[in-house]
């Protein structure tokens, strides 16, 4: 047998058949038609994942920087941005510090003893605040509390604290509210709001050291979190502070988002030791046939634009698995013949033949992959009252996987695909994906927005076990459709 095989191979392996004429010309024509087009770099998987990661980190970094910047510069003052300063005053500056507030703001006011009206700049939540409303029951925010205390102080002392800028000839009144300056607390006691120039100068210098550039003109304006000024007019005689303020900032808002998405999943298989036949067989047999995601996220606004989202979501992927189940069937045929011989005797003859037929049956089963995931997403939002748009980027951690179905083992035999199998193909440990999406939000009523969020998710690591001879990861494109509910402030407190 071996000699026969060897003889055949020796004779035919290098055997040359005549090549038909004109074949080269056909090849040249065909070759030019089928020149491989290079894969554009933006379709390269590594490039795409790098871009997603860079965008996600850029958004996170920008959010962090922007938030810190607001905190650090909220008390800075510039001469150019002082539309509210009407007069100069030699001795009128007050510094109020509260321990409870986490908002940093400088509230300059123009307060003159000669005039009854005082203008105070402030970040406020109410349109008109009367002094009598500044009792503890009605004061909502720490800023309001501070203003109330300050107003109270004014009422008790009849004096306007003074801030003197060393290098400035212009003097104005300012109220600085800052959590980091907790040493000075002005209460109802007159002595805490010193009437003496020296103590006031000390207070001012302390603030100055923290927040103001040395030599600059102090407290002309303030840069608030929203970069929009709110002015109030404080009238001593009426004991009223009138505030003109912008619409409520969303910086403190919390949201709950419920969503669901039909997903188009793409499985990427790369060999890590498996032969190409194995992966070719897998490719032929398996085809993803859709999936979905449902989830809930909590969103916290860091400021007017940036927010962080996190929650939990459930994802299911369905995969069709087709394979050939080979079967052999045997057929036994018994042929009986009877004939009469020359002697007149009847002779019967039975002939038994067995046929074996081997074929295959095309079988189809469906593999189900279930995943529980934690999204951590940074978002930048812009928009008007009705419409909002946001760009989202972040990481999705797959914390648990459950799957069942069938696959090929290394010998290309059918093997169960199951979470409970010791030699499971897929791992159930944490697996990371990069996430990027754009949200379109529409205000549909009080505290409710409807949103649509097309997104893509790129697997950063293999979801298959390292011991298995190939790596596979899932990428997804989907459209989150859902409802966003703004949690009222009262319910948060």
């Amino acid at each position: 047998m071996k000699e026969f095989d060897k003889y055949i191979k020796d004779n035919l392996y290098n055997y040359e058949s005549p090549v038909p004429e004109g074949l080269w010309d056909r090849i040249v024509a065909d070759k030019d038609k089928k020149k491989p087009t290079p894969i554009p770099f933006w379709k390269n998987g590594y490039f795409q994942s790098a871009i997603i990661a860079v965008i996600a980190f850029a958004i996170l970094g920008a959010a962090n920087w922007y938030t810190n910047r607001n905190t650090n510069t909220s008390a800075s003052t510039t001469q150019k941005e002082t539309p509210l300063v009407k007069t100069t005053s030699l001795d009128n500056t007050a510094s109020i510090s509260t321990k409870n507030t986490n908002v940093t703001a400088t509230i300059p006011a123009t307060l003159t003893k000669q005039e009854e009206n005082k203008t105070v700049s402030s970040l406020a939540h109410s349109a008109a605040i009367t002094k009598k409303n500044y009792d503890k029951k009605n004061v909502g925010s720490p800023i309001d509390q501070s203003i109330a205390k300050f107003s109270k102080t004014l009422a008790h002392t009849g004096n306007i604290p003074t801030e003197l800028a060393p290098s400035s000839k212009t003097k104005s009144n300012a109220i600085a509210i800052n959590s980091t300056i907790a040493e000075k607390h002005i209460g109802n006691n007159n002595s805490e709001t010193s009437n003496t120039d020296n103590s006031q100068i000390n207070q001012v210098n302390e603030i100055d050291n923290h927040y103001f550039e040395r030599g600059s003109i102090v407290t002309k304006t303030t840069s608030l979190l929203t970069n929009k000024l709110v002015s109030k007019t404080l009238t001593d005689s009426k004991k009223t502070i009138t505030a003109i303020h912008l619409p409520n900032t969303s910086a403190k808002n919390w949201f709950v988002e419920l969503y669901a998405s039909p997903d188009y999943d793409i499985k990427k298989v790369n060999t890590s030791g498996a032969n190409s036949f194995y992966t070719q067989a897998l490719d032929t047999a398996q085809k993803l046939s859709g999936g979905f995601t449902v989830g809930v996220r909590i969103s916290k606004n860091l400021n007017n634009h940036f927010s962080l989202k996190s929650g939990i979501q459930f994802k299911e992927i369905t995969e069709r698995f087709r394979y050939k189940q080979f079967e052999s069937k045997s057929l036994t045929v018994v042929t009986e013949r009877s004939y009469v011989n020359n002697d007149g005797a009847t002779i019967s003859n039975k002939d038994t033949t067995t046929y074996v037929q081997t074929g295959y049956r095309l079988m189809t089963s469906f593999n189900i992959y279930k995943q529980i995931e934690i999204p951590v997403i940074a978002s930048y939002q812009i928009g008007s009252n009705k419409w909002h748009f946001s760009a989202n980027g972040g990481i999705i951690a797959n914390i648990a996987s459950f799957y069942e179905g069938k696959t090929f083992d290394n010998s290309l035999n059918i093997a169960p695909l199951s979470t409970t199998q010791q030699n499971g193909v897929l791992k159930s440990t944490v697996n990371l994906s990069a996430y990027a999406g754009i949200s379109f939000l529409y205000d549909i009523g009080k505290n409710f927005d409807a949103f649509a969020e097309p997104y893509c998710k790129y697997g950063l690591s293999n979801s298959s076990n390292a011991s298995f001879s190939f790596g596979q990861r899932f990428n997804s494109i989907g459209l989150n459709l859902g409802i966003r509910y703004k949690i009222p402030h009262t319910s948060i407190k």
Partner: protein
């Protein structure tokens, strides 16, 4: 022209080098295609597509192993693609014993290469493909199983029967000659 120069020239899309490569290997690969194809027309199509693939993927050749073996593998894969389109049935066409028939070496030793090619071409499709892949190309039954989407055991049985059928044909030829 050395093999290295051929490869380099073809990667650089030099038409003269490509032509030289074609002329050097076309005969061998044509015989490969003829053994898998139903007829000469199909063999020509296979060879044409095989060379186009070779030229388009030559930059992927990593100089690991034989260059001719690499090209031959591409040509065989093209042939298998054509075969898969035909939905080749792998089934037994006869029952009975699968024992080999012993053929004396002097009998098949007298056959020419053309005779062998004709004998192989007369084998049923399934037998012929498995026989070519295993005996001439050197693929294992497991590899053949994956390539053709059949069990390795099926490949084995097809080979045994192909070999037996071929040996029967040779014996018939010998009897006719006598």
């Amino acid at each position: 022209m050395s093999e290295h120069e051929l490869i380099k020239g073809c990667i650089e899309q030099n038409p003269h080098t490509q032509r030289a490569l074609f002329e050097r290997y076309a005969g061998k690969f044509m015989s490969v295609c003829v053994r898998y194809a139903l007829d000469t027309m199909e063999a020509e199509d296979m060879l044409q597509e095989g060379f186009v693939r070779i030229f388009n993927n030559l930059h992927q050749f990593k100089h690991e192993g034989s260059f001719e073996g690499w090209m031959r593998r591409i040509v065989v894969n093209v042939c298998l693609k054509y075969i898969q389109k035909r939905k080749l049935p792998f089934k037994d066409i006869e029952g009975g014993s699968t024992q080999d028939i012993q053929v004396a070496p002097y009998i098949y030793g007298s056959l020419s290469e053309d005779d062998l090619m004709k004998l192989i071409s007369q084998l049923p499709d399934g037998y012929r493909i498995v026989f070519n892949l295993n005996v001439i190309e050197g693929y294992s039954h497991e590899e053949i199983g994956v390539m053709l989407g059949i069990e390795a055991s099926t490949s084995r049985s097809q080979l045994v029967k192909a070999r037996r059928m071929l040996q029967n044909q040779i014996i018939k030829l010998e009897k006719i000659a006598v």
